[in-house]
Amino acid sequence: MTAFILQRSTQSIVVLFVMSLIVFCGVNLIGDPIYMMISPESTQAEIERTIKEFGLDKPVLEQYWYFLKNVLNGDFGLSFVQGIPALSLILERFPATIELALFSLFISLVFALPLGIYAGLKPDRKISKFIMAGSILGFSMPTFWVGIMLIMLFAVHLGWLPSTGRGELGTFLGIESSLFTLDGLSHIFLPALNLALFKLSSVLRLTRAGTREVALQDYIKFARAKGLSESRVVNVHLLKNILIPVVTVIGLEFGSLVAFSTVTETVFAWPGAGKLIIDAVYNLDRPVIVAYLIIIVAFFVFLNLIVDILYSFLDPRVRIKGSD
């Protein structure tokens, strides 16, 4: 197990290194951050002062070398635009994104698992067909549009929920989150639903497919023949066996929920890391872009590791080994 984790970590360091080089050069190819920062009235001399101040007059590879040296000391550089360490800027925003991702994961699981199992067990019922048709809608509608529609319906017409921002924060067990206050929950519901929709649909379809496959297996028939109650057959024997693909997808999807919540965060003005990265890309704020991507890649690697470890608990046939 330790060997496995070590091996994974070495691999990911290589990945991080290559990725940072690509991003660093890529951002430079797109455009020049200087023209995004200066005041339009700046004179040529003022522009050159800024270029020097940020070290942008040096060759890209030299800039990268300095960056690398600083990163090894835990310094990702200052945000060009805000003048604040990029890392702290991102870490400051992460709790909001994580809580949004967790809540939307919760929403998608609560709906996707029961609906998927139902549609899988009774595939011919009208309700099942309705569920499946709905799931197609769920992942084919663009998030941006759905977000605006949710706002129009729940915030503008019905006036039930607020349309924008993060609510009041509460503290529970030392963790600060908007999930612990009523105002916070009312603010998080719409963006979480918006973010969950896609996930909900894909997990639902996965669950249904798994259920249909497993429901025909001998051990299910045997369990029924043994006279076990339907709820035990479904909740224990069936559920356990369909969970493996679902866990994989959820693990990876949680990563993508965190990494790609940009659209939802922009529509709902949610002060999370997704909104930060999209603004950073617009402004070519290179330190923030690079630091964000490094954190996200590290996060994905970590999630994959967790998924692998979870497998071994769910399925005794899978044994984690380090290559020797």
Binding site: I38, T50, E53, R93, V156
Partner: protein, 526 residues
């Protein structure tokens, strides 16, 4: 829920009439400031937001005319010295007194903020601040400097006591954010909100709201939805597509007014061989834009009325010069060019381009209101006089680098480009200096002259204006320079002035500002 709220409100109103209610305000703004430090970043959102907390020596009213702020009066006492008399009754948010020392301190701090992406040096370099007594400051320059009040209308005065050794982070956290403005800083959560509270000791018009929350909502439709759902009370930059709908809504009060921003075409006037111009069919051709007749023909081929009504949904004003009327230095003689295809075609023939040529128009797609659509419309209009246009639009992050220094020799890359210019100083010298004066690094002129228009007569007029202290006489020289550079030389081709729009909930109106700023003091109860 709503009914419950109303019931509770009703009960409270009926039974506790003696309690004074606190009045809160939430504002949804498009652009979030990059910092609360008023000297860190010289860009629109920062300069706008700081107005609520800090004051200037010289204020700018909603039409960007100079008004007394921390200085009660100012005048040149000789050719190179301006005298500012300060108000004596001003207190900082912590209760301490405002004096000339704070002004002297500000002048040195604003020049030396570490890692500033755009410094205030352009307004402060070459000026020496001298304290005469606690309430008199002299500002000396080497040469006569008539734009002193305009320059000092942009630099926010900070407290010496709190500002000494304060970092940008100290302003973000509120530690050093002590101003003299109508509202005090309370809290800043990046990307989420900035909270201000009333400063009852404000020396100007008393602030009306107890707590004000600024919420950055970048997406246009989301901003409108937040207003409609009552989550915010005022929004800026209303998307043009929503204006008609909001006009009909009785719960919403729209307000709009002309902006100081002109949308115009910059035209390559410095290369014989312009990279994005070809003869019909793709052959090489001498840059036709060097010929003033062709530039004039292009201006005549632009149907500005159609641009305003169709592309801009009525939210623009056809432009014939650098600033709309009412601003200092605007020429009374200049009108937008008429739409006249016949004359335009004739001019093209006279210039020897009767058959036309091929041209790529470049523009941004996320900078100005409907910018990509403007470029497309221009392409169609120019095709009527034989100029076959390709349109290429791109995000501003890519665009501005290429438009300013994209060619291999670091000169502007494009042949013709859509751009905009907002005159921060509120008078015509700002666009003349940056867009039309000869590009000259040592003189600090023509910094944004992306077409490299160059005419010694225009330069001489601009220099003359910048040395004329008498305001009226200067205005006339600026107008003359505009008539020559835009009206005769077609150094740039103005298309329209943007119109700024705000929407507030009924019962309030926002006083439109030409500088696009959203400041709490501009919101009035009816």
């Amino acid at each position: 829920m709503k009914i419950l709220k109303q019931l509770i409100a009703l009960m409270v109103i009926c039974f506790v009439p003696s309690i004074a209610f606190s009045e809160n305000l939430k504002i949804g703004i498009k652009g979030e400031p990059s910092s609360i430090d008023p000297h860190y970043h010289n860009v629109g959102p920062n300069n706008m937001f700081g107005n609520n907390i800090f004051s200037h020596l010289v204020g700018q009213d909603e039409n960007q005319q100079a008004i007394p702020d921390l200085a009660t009066s100012w005048k040149p006492i000789n050719d190179t010295t301006w005298e500012f008399k300060l108000r004596k009754d001003v207190k900082w948010h912590d209760g301490s007194k405002f004096t000339a020392d704070d002004v002297i301190f500000t002048a040195s701090r604003a020049l030396n903020v570490p890692k500033s992406p755009a410094s205030f040096g352009i307004y402060l370099k070459g000026k020496t601040f001298v304290k005469i007594d606690d309430y008199t400051v002299h500002v000396k320059t080497e040469k006569p400097y008539p734009l002193m009040p305009n320059d000092l209308g942009v630099v926010k005065i900070v407290s010496k006591k709190y500002g000494t050794n304060a970092t940008t982070e100290d302003y973000n956290s509120g530690k050093a954010t002590i101003g003299t403005g109508p509202y005090k800083f309370k809290e800043y959560i990046k990307g989420d909100k900035i909270v201000l509270v009333k400063n009852s000791d404000y020396f100007g018009k008393k602030p009306e709201f107890d707590v004000v929350e600024f919420k950055p909502i970048k997406s246009g439709p989301a901003r409108v939805a937040a207003l409609l759902s009552g989550d915010v009370d005022l929004i800026d930059s209303v998307p043009p597509v929503d204006v008609a709908k909001l006009k009909k809504n009785k719960k919403i009060q729209l307000s709009s007014g002309p902006s100081n921003r002109v949308i115009y075409l910059h035209i390559d006037q410095f290369r014989e061989d312009s990279p994005y111009i070809k003869a019909i069919g793709g052959g090489k051709i001498k840059n036709p834009l060097l010929n003033v007749k062709v530039r004039k023909a292009i201006s005549l081929a632009i149907n500005r009325d159609a641009m305003v009504s169709k592309v801009m949904e009525g939210l623009a004003i056809p432009a014939g010069q650098l600033l709309p009327k009412g601003f200092h230095g605007v020429s009374p003689n200049m009108k937008p060019d008429p739409y006249d295809i016949k004359t335009a075609k004739m001019l093209m023939k006279e210039a020897g381009y009767g058959k036309g040529f091929e041209l790529t128009i470049h523009g941004p797609n996320d900078r100005y209101i409907n910018d990509a659509k403007i470029a497309e419309a221009l392409g169609q209009m120019l095709s009527k006089i034989g100029i076959k246009c390709k349109i290429e639009v791109m995000p501003k992050a890519v665009y501005f680098k290429r438009a300013s220094a994209g060619a291999p020799d670091k000169t502007p890359e494009f042949s013709m480009m859509v751009l905009g210019w907002g005159a921060g100083s509120g008078e015509a010298s700002s666009p003349l200096k940056s867009l039309l004066a000869t590009h000259d690094k040592t003189k600090g002129m023509g910094g944004a002259n992306r077409g490299r228009h160059s005419d010694p007569k225009v330069d001489a007029l601009i220099d003359k204006a910048l040395a004329t202290v008498d305001s009226d006489a200067r205005g006339k020289v600026l107008a003359e320079a505009t008539e020559l550079a835009v009206g005769k030389n077609y150094g740039i081709i103005p298309i329209h002035y943007q119109v700024n729009t705000w929407a507030a909930k009924a019962g309030y109106t926002y006083l439109p500002r030409t500088d696009e700023y959203t400041v709490v003091a501009g919101l009035q109860k009816k």
